[in-house]
């Protein structure tokens, strides 16, 4: 990040005037905060190699995952992972099939409803999961009667949980693209609504749609509150349960989940950057 002064002529000026930190100050702050924040992660990695309380180190906890009876021992954990992946897929489905068309429609046809839609989508921040779950319990006793007790129904609640994140990701893309002109152009060139949506609008909204999907997956994989209090099994509830019998495996899977979430969110950043790069 130490650019030669030819590309950033005002850096040194900014440093001299005190608006930007000097390189030393920058790296001291980032170094100290980075070091402190890496401790818990490093501790997890070290823990996953610990050989009991004796103090030695072993690879056994990692290799044990590939044992033939591992699938039986950690059956509950694998159920949880499967459930969470299923829930992630259904939640993304809700975002793409229910939220996205509504946002496009409101943007094009009901500009007056934009503020209302924004307000609705932000509500889940003010009504946190622990409050929502109090009212979800009676709702789910009805859902179970209608749709059965399968685990995927939980995605209805998760669709609400991810609403603020998904909304923000899609909306910032909608604001950056002139959707009205694009859709009028599509209509003028004789495309029907379906064609305009599929061939004109969605390609332009790809970045927002992908970001919304990825953040939804990350949120669903980390969700604990609703699953736990509605007595369902997902990745997080299974992790907590496994940690009581085999903390090493629980930590290993927590690390893997974390790495996966990091890759997902890093690619959101990348999608965003590619676009800014090409447009500027």
């Amino acid at each position: 990040m130490t650019r030669p002064s030819t590309t950033r002529p005002d850096t040194s000026v900014a440093v001299r005037m005190g608006t930007e930190p000097s390189r030393l100050v920058r790296w001291v702050i980032l170094g100290v905060v980075g070091l402190v924040f890496s401790i818990p992660i490093v501790a997890m990695v070290v823990f996953s190699f610990r050989d009991g309380l004796g103090g030695g180190y072993t690879l056994a906890h990692w290799t044990g995952l590939f044992d033939e009876d591992a699938a039986r021992t950690y059956r509950n954990l694998f159920t949880g992972i499967g459930n969470s992946l299923l829930l992630a897929v259904v939640t993304v489905g809700i975002v793409l099939l229910v939220l996205l068309p509504t946002m496009i429609l409101v943007h094009l046809q009901f500009p007056r409803l934009r503020r209302t839609l924004e307000f609705i989508c932000i509500i889940p921040i003010t009504v946190p999961a622990i409050v929502l779950v109090v009212g979800l319990a009676p709702v789910y006793s009805v859902v179970v009667k209608v749709a059965g007790g399968s685990v995927w129904t939980l995605a209805f609640a998760y669709g609400i949980t991810v609403l603020p994140y998904a909304y923000r990701a899609i909306q910032s893309n909608l604001d950056a693209v002139d959707v009205v002109t694009l859709s009028e152009a599509g209509r003028t060139l004789s495309a029907n609504w379906g064609q305009t949506l599929w061939f004109v609008l969605l390609p332009n909204l790809k970045r927002g749609v992908l970001a919304a999907s990825f953040i939804s997956v990350a949120v669903v994989l980390g969700e604990f509150t609703i699953a736990s209090l509605l007595n369902r099994t997902n990745l997080q509830t299974a992790l907590l349960q496994v940690s009581q019998s085999d903390p090493y495996v629980a930590v290993i899977f927590a690390l893997l989940a974390l790495a996966f979430a990091f890759i997902l969110l890093l690619s959101i950043g990348r999608i965003g950057r590619t676009r800014t790069g090409s447009s500027s």
Binding site: M1, M17, V98, V127
Partner: protein, 312 residues
Amino acid sequence: MTVANTPVLVSDAAESETTRRHSPSGPAKRARGLAKYLALTPFAAYVIVFLGIPTTIAVVSGFFTDEGAFTLDNVAGLFAPNVLATFGSSFWVSAVTAVVGAVVGALVCYALLGTRADGPLRSFIDSVSSVLAQFGGVMLAFAFIAAIGSQGLITVLLRDSFGLDIFADGVWLYQVQGLLPVYIYFQVPLMVITFMPALSGLKLQWAEANATLGGTRFTYWTRIAFPVLAPSFFGSLLLLFANAFSSYATAAALISQGAQIVPLQIRAALVSETVLGRENMAGALALGMVVVMVVVMWGYSVLQNRTSRWQK
């Protein structure tokens, strides 16, 4: 493609022609207007069933007994000394972690000033921040147990190398004060995400104007940057407070029993059905939480509106 589209072009143009020329308020247009509204119904229905109804039940059920009779007992129960103490702990944990998180997060944002917004450092820190801000819950509890649990990496290191026992007064990690370091761990990254746009909105011209008028670095930060950033800083602080106040999973994973903070008291009320000998206490607690959250988030949006003035 072209061939397939041609008839559509003709028929579509013809249709809109006739509608426009003959009957602007005709049944065809009304039908299309109706169809537009119908297209809104899936989302509306979904939000009503899974957001509107649960929120209403959560907030209103505190006013009713199990038999459905109106009662103020549960809401009065919010003012019982032990419930007030729980709200007190929640406020305390949220306030401390929000302030520490906001200050440390703002420092990190400051350190990032002058780096390229699309450079590798910024995008790395952006991604790390979004992961860690989402990291709350079971996995975060594991990380802190591995680091500063009674056999944790740091605990053992401090004990064996420096003779320092961080748990000399008892294992506080599994009590309310144990939530402080754990919550700060997701508060700082959230601050980085929310405060960075405001900080990078500072314009170099303002510093130049300050320098031209004979100002110093000190006057730049106290007279210009701080007043401009204040609404955003305090707005982010409120968001962090709300974030900690509503957080359940981390606390639930660390503290397996008891009702030390409000979300855990809701858990106790849901699991045992009766707390303090009252039914539907969970509803009353949820109401109490929503009231706090609405006030905090209202403050956040007011400050956010003031912020956007400078971000144009």
